[in-house]
Symmetry: D2
């Protein structure tokens, strides 16, 4: 599991005085940096090899400006050329949002998906989320 | 169907030189303004009665900086106290992203969902997406 | 003068129920697209030749969710290798924000500023803001 | 001086593969949270008493995705009803951006500026930036 703490910005809150839904995908993306390092340790854009195919977020409880949020990040599924990330945003003791993001290992020059090499799969497996019933 | 055109900003593009995934939920939210007007014509925050329960976005094709994007918005499902919005982002002739957003008719004072009044349901039904096979 | 209309998003509003200050630089950037077209008609990133040196924004009046904002964009100064853009955000009859953005004509390979060619200067001059006392 | 570290998100980078200018005002706002706590320790929006009058940012060097940024925050000026915050964004050893933000102590019900109470001034003075020549 990867973890990251994030401090809400004044502007992250909307007219309902809770953090706006569109902010969460940005936090989740930020918390996926360590996964992107597996595929591209130096973050070289010319050799980037991942593309995002899908995101989903469930908003379970309101998130407020007053306290930091703890983001937990796991790998929830590994396929031939794609993998799924599962993430939770926790404020205090409450899970406020949970999301999934499907990534495809991708060759931008050929514009097609390519198999994930075994060495990357091995790294991803270190962070597998296995307690399925909680998802 | 509601429609909106949006012009990408220079900063909407990421290091892969296509529009970053986190931008799309913002465009989709912007395009839902007419739906929010059904529930709250004057956009009064003290009487706001909708809360977002879930979003999902499928990224089908890359979106580029060079041309405007056409956002199409339908109602894809109406329940007792919730409804689902289905949206597409089209650039040129290509559907580049499609998303769903589940909204709950909500009483913020009581902190619970409430049934959608028939007059709102009637308005929502004007924008129902019925050609299921394309979704 | 270039003009653009922008519709606020639900999430653009902050806890004070007016549009958050950090939203305005994004609107102003979006409204500068036609200026970027002068320097790079096809928006080719490999040949990009502008870098932003400075922005400033004065927040004169609150901007609200309920109505569109009209963005006006002028060129306020042209130097040897740089030029300044002056912009206003108008909601209803009120000028709510005004800003400046200093751009440098820049060679990213050599990492240095370069003189603005006369043909670009001529295009910029078509949009000069001359009523100095209002700035 | 207040300090905060921020990790760039994949989407913070634009087509030039450096952090987009519109991202910096958000970082600076986030880093001003401790100053907002002086005026409103519990971050209660109904009693909010600050409004932003002006921001300016100088972009001195490019900021990249690969490394965290260190944000330094000082008070650079204290007036009767307003104060100015001075901030720097440092990546590695380089100051990449510096900015100012003018805040007004404000009564939202009366819609007018009000004098900053001595106890708040005293707290602000603890963070004064005095080495003027570096600004």
């Amino acid at each position: 599991m990867y973890t990251m703490d994030v401090t809400p910005r004044f502007g992250d809150v909307d007219g309902l005085r809770h953090v706006n839904n569109t902010v969460i995908p940005g936090w989740f993306e930020q918390a996926r940096n360590p996964i992107y390092r597996i595929f591209n340790p130096e973050f070289e854009f010319d050799n980037w090899n991942l593309i995002l195919a899908r995101i989903e977020v469930d908003f379970i409880g309101q998130i407020f400006y007053n306290n930091d949020i703890h983001i937990k990040t796991w790998i929830s599924n590994i396929g031939r050329s794609s993998f799924e990330v599962y993430q939770e945003a926790v404020q205090g003791e409450r899970i406020c949002a949970k999301g999934k993001a499907v990534h495809v290992h991708y060759d931008f020059k050929l514009q097609k998906s390519i198999e994930i090499p075994p060495r990357f799969k091995k790294d991803l497996e270190q962070h597998l989320y296995e307690i399925i019933e909680n998802v």
